[in-house]
Symmetry: C2
Subunit: 233 residues, 2 copies
């Protein structure tokens, strides 16, 4: 049994979140341990996939034993939801930007979103995005914590811009509000990261033209009926 783990001299390794089994001087409990487990969970999720998660792998990564995990959660799914929901490791309520201009707000909001995606919690989202059908509860949590808040804020930003005359009133819709975040997400999936230049490009090449006040060209909206002309073959 167990060479004692109470090495009295190891003050150096004070507190690194993702330590792969570093012998610790202090034994964590309660909240501190829980948060370390959340971190390890998100890191592992970011590295691999939801299906491969297991208490078996997470425990050593968090520098603890499986028992501590089984005492808290019944399944990896529960653990993931908890990790996502916890404000300190997962997602809290994002704040609305207020730079005074539509372009400033968009770049601030989308830039922050892109930044979050580069953190462990953001990279942990990636494997979850394709799990809608198999793990509705997990996906619903992603939706509730990430997708919907962004959409809500974006809609408010658009409304404010429309009120200032900076944006066309008819672009204040959920569909238009979804464009920015979705383009960021797509860029993230395709390239692995979203740089500042990408954010600017999305804002300047897509969102600004899309929301620009319309000098009433007769074509901008849906042509009433018009057969949809789909000629797929």
């Amino acid at each position: 049994m167990a060479t004692t783990s109470h090495a009295p001299d190891a003050p150096t390794a004070a507190a690194q979140p993702p330590g792969p089994a570093t012998p610790r001087a202090t034994r964590r409990r309660g909240e501190a341990l829980t948060r370390a487990i959340y971190q390890a969970t998100l890191n592992e999720l970011a590295r691999t996939s939801f299906e491969e998660l297991s208490f078996d792998k997470i425990a050593p990564l968090a520098g603890t034993g499986k028992s501590a995990l089984y005492r808290r959660w019944a399944t990896p799914e529960e653990l993931v939801i908890a990790a996502l929901t916890d404000p300190s490791t997962g997602f809290g309520d994002p704040v609305a930007p207020d730079t005074g201009s539509l372009r400033g707000d968009l770049i601030a909001l989308l830039g922050r979103f892109a930044g979050v995606l580069d953190e462990p919690r953001g990279r942990a989202l990636r494997p979850l995005l394709t799990q809608r059908a198999r793990h509705p509860e997990v996906f619903e949590e992603v939706r509730r914590l990430v997708i919907l808040p962004n959409q809500r804020i974006l809609l408010a930003v658009l409304q404010a811009a429309a009120d200032r005359g900076e944006a066309a009133p008819q672009c204040v819709t959920p569909r238009v509000a979804s464009v920015g975040p979705r383009l960021i997400m797509a860029e993230f999936l395709e390239k692995g990261t979203v740089g500042r230049a990408d954010v600017q490009s999305i804002v300047d090449e897509v969102l600004m033209p899309l929301t620009a006040p319309r000098p009433d060209t007769g074509r901008s909206d849906a042509p009433a009926d018009a057969g949809d002309g789909a000629r797929a073959t």
Copy 2:
């Protein structure tokens, strides 16, 4: 596993393309068998995830033995790439629409894309989208077979529309061309399916306003330098 694996009564009498081990009168070989394996692979991929794929599971789904698979491919990864590449089960070159109008072209192209996503081969894409980092070769194939062709055609559609005066010339860019497909993909991931109404909404609420000829408002493009105004906190 005492229960015989060739249960003569498939549950719910599934049709034969994805038949879960229906006893066959005829023994397939060569191309026919290969294609059946591709189908089973894509079906299973659509149902679960890339990580969970294994010859062990695919073989019975294709109604054959593991030997037939190991004789053809060394790893599930190779098999997936082959299944995606095969024109009869995977993706060939998509055709460019030519309806005469920008809106018609967009709805035709994106509608067809949405349709493909509802097929097995399309649903099989979903788990692959998050595998860029772990399986670059598979993702590269997705890119080559699905993402890039769509982008290429869309760019051509935009160019043609610009030539006709239907679209602003400055919107003929890869970034703008990426918007449609990416919104379709995002809708697909978030809702599980993309209906005709979604396609129309994307075209009419986003793409048409975005590409509308610009009567030269002084603001549509990037403001030269202008600090990016990001005030993320």
